[in-house]
């Protein structure tokens, strides 16, 4: 395929209007409860040709987020610019799934290139949330967002379309939809799961994440994918993994679980309760803390003082990297190409690219490219990009100052005397936000929202762990006052993914989540 690429920049007139007409995806207006109208899967795989038979994951049906490459299967990143793109290769994580025999059911909807918190920025339309708990026969179905950017992955798991799903998490894109949809969502330590074949949004933050209907499912998939990949230059060396695993195991052994959690030290970060945090979230969160304390865990308030600056730093870094990573979508080697209407206005290559990029990228992606491009200009670089990197180091140091385990990736880190084993905080500032259907434009939007910045605010609770590269997992903690799911997040020291999973399992036992999803399916039938 590559051999034949004598690529030509041919300048042909073409009607943009004709293209526009075909490209807006529409969402069926029937009940979102029905599996095929959730819009969770945007491509279904019927036969599993490359999957090993009778592998250890043969009973785990998996959906793959549409920004993770699947050989010969469309990988659109929910972007018009890659609408017809079929990569000639599998991402390493997909290859590992196939080798373990996991049946891949399809590609999951997401925000364009992973940029968004509501899965509204997608050429496939929004992924809708199937998780309304209060489902009495004949009651009104409420349209709510599945969250983003891995909204399709979360919705597919919640609706029982699969047992687990791959997502990506750059600033909360796995944990947030997991929280909204009432499923488990793990963002592993940065550098642990291979990013080869995962379409880059912000390389220094992007992680492959795993969503599942139970902690056990997530753990099985995680253990399958947790392999050093020398094709990923950011993969952490096996020695460091082993070292972190050892430190982590020491702590886990101290709290055997079940009967007693007496040596488990749970940190509650003060800064994670902003005024925007909905009170509906607090009750389920407190219940979890109370139950853990009842079983002997020590609840310890901690402070992570740089948290306030984390959100701004995150958006500068993520946008800067995005502006760089998305420069490759120019319509030359692959993907969409739009030729200019009028050749007389074409003086340089950029004039041609502008057509493709203006038409091919959605609003949010364009916004972040512009922001990131500005942050990297010579005038702004020091005040924005470098400043954000400084904040990032402070955020990392904050975490290292509270955890009982040393950060093996940092030569200067030494664990404090009475550090905490994990941090526990609400995953989101609210339950899944309601959507309204704008019949005129046939698109969905956030109900009652005035400001685009509202969407960014949500990331306050999830971006610090992303900036620090730490493992973080949202597990269901019951429902809020509105009967929609609430998640709590467990954050651990780098490389302590197993400890995070272990605590998740304990919380799952308290909440009885495994049955919860099944119950909902039963009720739906």
């Amino acid at each position: 395929m590559l051999r034949q690429q004598v690529v030509r920049c041919r300048l042909i007139q073409r009607s943009r209007k004709a293209l526009l007409k075909n490209c807006y995806a529409t969402v069926s207006q029937t009940s979102p409860r029905e599996k095929d109208t959730l819009n969770a899967l945007v491509y279904r795989v019927n036969s599993a040709t490359d999957t090993v038979e009778n592998g250890p994951l043969k009973d785990v049906r998996v959906a793959v987020k549409d920004n993770i490459c699947t050989a010969g299967i469309p990988t659109t990143c929910s972007s018009r610019i890659l609408e017809t793109f079929k990569p000639p290769y599998d991402a390493t994580v997909v290859k590992l799934l196939r080798e373990a025999g996991a049946p891949i059911v399809g590609k999951a909807n997401c925000d364009e290139f992973g940029m968004g918190s509501l899965n509204l920025w997608s050429i496939h339309g929004p992924a809708l949330n199937p998780s309304q708990y209060d489902k009495s026969p004949g009651s009104e179905v409420e349209l709510r967002s599945a969250g983003g950017s891995s909204g399709g992955s979360a919705a597919a798991v919640a609706a029982g379309l699969c047992d687990a799903a791959l997502g990506t998490d750059t600033g909360g894109s796995v944990r947030l939809p997991a929280s909204y949809c009432g499923v488990v969502g793990l963002k592993p330590s940065y550098g642990v799961l291979s990013r080869w074949g995962v379409v880059s949004y912000a390389d220094s933050l992007d992680c492959v994440g795993i969503l599942g209907k139970s902690v056990g499912h997530v753990q099985r998939v995680f253990q399958t994918l947790n392999k050093f990949d020398d094709k990923d230059p950011t993969a952490v060396h096996p020695d460091a993994r082993k070292q972190a695993g050892f430190l982590c195991q020491e702590r886990v052994n101290a709290w055997p679980g079940d009967a007693t959690l007496s040596n488990l030290r749970v940190g509650v970060p003060q800064e994670y309760f902003p005024t925007e945090l909905s009170t509906a979230i607090l009750q389920p969160y407190r219940n979890v803390l109370r139950s853990l304390a009842k079983r002997g865990a020590q609840i310890i308030p901690v402070s992570l003082p740089s948290t306030h600056y984390a959100l701004s730093a995150y958006y500068v870094i993520a946008s800067a990297e995005a502006s760089s990573n998305l420069a490759r979508y120019d319509g030359i080697e692959f993907g969409l190409r739009v030729d200019p209407d009028n050749m007389n206005h074409v003086n340089q290559a950029g004039d041609i690219y502008a057509q493709t990029r203006t038409f091919g990228f959605g609003e949010e992606v364009q916004r972040r490219i512009l922001l990131g491009t500005y942050a990297l200009t010579a005038d702004a670089f020091d005040n924005y990009f470098l400043q954000a990197q400084r904040v990032r180091r402070l955020v990392r140091a904050d975490f290292d100052n509270v955890f009982s385990a040393r950060n093996v990736l940092s030569s200067t880190s030494s664990a404090p005397e009475c550090g905490v084993d994990i941090l526990l905080h609400p995953s989101a500032i609210r339950t899944a936000p309601p959507l309204v259907h704008d019949a005129e434009r046939d698109v969905y939007k956030l109900k009652g929202s005035k400001d685009d910045l509202d969407a960014y605010l949500q990331d306050v609770l999830t971006v610090p762990a992303s900036l620090a590269g730490l493992p973080a997992m949202s597990v269901p903690a019951g429902v809020g006052e509105d009967k929609w799911p609430v998640g709590v997040s467990i954050v651990g020291q780098w490389g302590c993914d197993e400890a995070v999973l272990k605590v998740g399992e304990e919380i799952e036992k308290i909440i009885g989540n495994g049955e919860a999803i099944e119950d909902r399916h039963e009720m739906r039938k």
Binding site: R8, P87, A91, S324, R328, F334, L376
Partner: protein, 520 residues
């Protein structure tokens, strides 16, 4: 060719600082009386590695079909990631050591952004903030000038775009995209177009001797951007505003471009105007430079640390290991050869062959003439060996219109041949015959074996020698008579006949003695 677009505009600034650069006095020149010239050069040399800098695709030569050496990474397909080729680093370190530069224990890769069709990812990976080597020098052999090297950095080459003269189609060839480059930046230490040319030649020679690059300007594996400024001869240190001339592809073109740029700048100044800092191109046909873009139009490359590539950490023992296995540099090689008793002329012949030799991939040093000589000369008389190589072997090759790289005769074969002749088991004439036979038939058979097959072994016993001598005397009775009468000069004609019927196997000295003993 686009790899370096406009880079120097801000990067060279520190080197031009008036306070730093005082090392050389201005040099008067008849061509521009009263004016002094200052030149700095940025060289982009393609690293001769088998695989590209960040992918395992093979590098290409100009003869490859377009777009046959392209991987998904080279074409910037989504999801692909770079993986640094350690061979490129090793060749970079060799180059840095050869230039006496300090290899940094920690360097890093950055992205330089611009949109162009032959740059598929929209950025070039380079080492803008932290180059891997700094502070080197290159001593120019003829003028004995020490040119300071500011820094050496690793970076990616771009693809190539070709446009039809009046068409609207641009063709893209990604074979070259992602090939490793070394950017070698000099201080403004040259004072004439000729010194600039000498610098590039000296650099080419260093690159080839350490095996890091072909350094071939015609084939584009070495490209130069030149910074030129002029100032009043009587105001040393008060450097003028510089202009950068991009993409000079021959040494001759470079000297012409510098000369014409110097004259242009002097003209501007003498007319009472100021030289504007800008980037200029060179029109070879008109022997003139022209404005590409002014300083104000310099693009903002939005340099950013590459978030995929960890810092390049080079430990001291890695560097010292490379240092201890460094191939010899041109200066020390010549000294060594002279020390072995070779003449100046012989060393020059051998080294001239090497400067044009093919550089092997990944630092494998091609079997050059010096290495060939060294192998053959082991345990043999160097002067005899160099004669066989420079006179007989090179003579025959050039007679056959072949180059040394096409030489089919192995060093082992050459050694065997020299031994056969030196031990008088064959004659020199037979030796030359065997050499020609090997070149002609490209055989791998050893000369001692060939000597037997071709019946060339010098007559070892007196019987056959006596027989040939008697035959010769019978064939030339009148000449024999003259010898008997004391005319020994005629002996040579009979001796010639002996050599002929023995097909060179007879040892001339022994035959001469034998003939005399028979005839007297």
């Amino acid at each position: 060719m686009l790899a370096s677009r406009g880079r120097a505009i801000f990067k060279l600034t520190p080197c031009y600082s008036r306070y730093v650069h005082q090392s050389r006095d201005p040099i008067p020149d008849k061509r521009w009386p009263g004016w002094a010239v200052v030149v700095g050069i940025e060289v982009h040399a393609q690293i001769k590695s088998r695989e590209k800098l960040f992918s395992d695709t093979w590098t290409s030569t100009l003869s490859q079909e377009p777009n046959t050496r392209v991987s998904a990474y080279d074409a910037a397909f989504p999801g692909t990631l770079p993986r640094l080729n350690p061979k490129c680093v090793e060749l970079g370190v060799r180059t840095a050591l050869a230039l006496g530069a300090k290899v940094q224990h920690r360097s890093a890769f950055d992205r330089k952004h611009y949109f162009y069709p032959d740059l598929p990812s929209g950025y070039q990976i380079t080492q803008h903030y932290a180059p891997f080597a700094t502070n080197g020098t290159l001593r120019l052999p003829k003028s004995a000038v020490e040119v300071r090297i500011t820094q050496i950095q690793l970076e990616q080459d771009t693809g190539k775009s070709t446009s039809e003269a009046h068409g609207s189609t641009t063709y893209i060839d990604l074979n070259r995209a992602g090939t490793g480059l070394m950017e070698i930046v000099s201080e403004p230490d040259m004072r004439s177009p000729e010194e600039a040319a000498e610098y590039v030649r000296a650099l080419q020679s260093v690159l080839r001797s350490v095996g890091s690059s072909d350094g071939n300007m015609e084939q584009g594996s070495l490209r130069c951007d030149v910074n030129v400024s002029v100032h009043k001869l009587d105001k040393p240190g008060e450097f003028g505003t510089r202009c950068e001339i991009k993409n000079l592809n021959t040494i001759k073109g470079m000297t012409v471009a510098i000369t014409s740029e110097v004259l242009r700048q002097i003209q501007v100044l003498e007319n009472g105007n100021k030289v504007a800092q800008e980037t200029r191109g060179f029109d070879e046909d008109r022997a003139e430079t022209y404005t590409l873009r002014s300083k104000e139009d310099a693009p903002d490359y939005r340099y950013m640390p590459d978030p995929n590539l960890p810092p390049l950490l080079l430990k001291e023992d890695y560097v010292s290991n490379i240092r201890s296995h460094m191939p010899d540099l041109p200066g020390p090689i010549q000294a060594r050869l002279l020390n072995m008793g070779l003449t100046q002329r012989d060393t020059e012949v051998l080294m001239a062959i090497d400067s044009g030799r093919e550089v092997g991939y990944d630092g494998a040093l091609g079997q050059g003439a010096v290495a060939y000589f060294d192998t053959v000369a082991q345990g043999r008389d160097p002067k005899v060996v160099v004669n066989w190589i420079t006179h007989e072997l090179l003579g025959q090759l050039s007679h056959r219109q072949e180059t040394f790289t096409q030489n089919p005769m192995t060093a082992a074969q050459m050694g065997d041949l020299v031994d056969l002749v030196q031990s008088k088991r064959i004659t020199g004439t037979s030796g030359k015959l065997i050499l020609r036979h090997i070149l002609e038939h490209k055989t791998t058979t050893m000369p001692s074996q060939l000597a037997q097959e071709l019946l060339l072994l010098a007559a070892q016993n007196d019987d056959s020698l006596k027989q040939w001598c008697n035959e010769a005397i019978e064939a030339l009775p009148s000449e024999a008579q003259k010898v008997r009468e004391g005319n020994e000069r005629t002996l040579n004609r009979i001796l010639g006949h002996v050599m002929k019927i023995s097909r060179g196997r007879a040892n001339p000295e022994s035959a001469k003695t034998m003939l005399l003993s028979i005839l007297k």
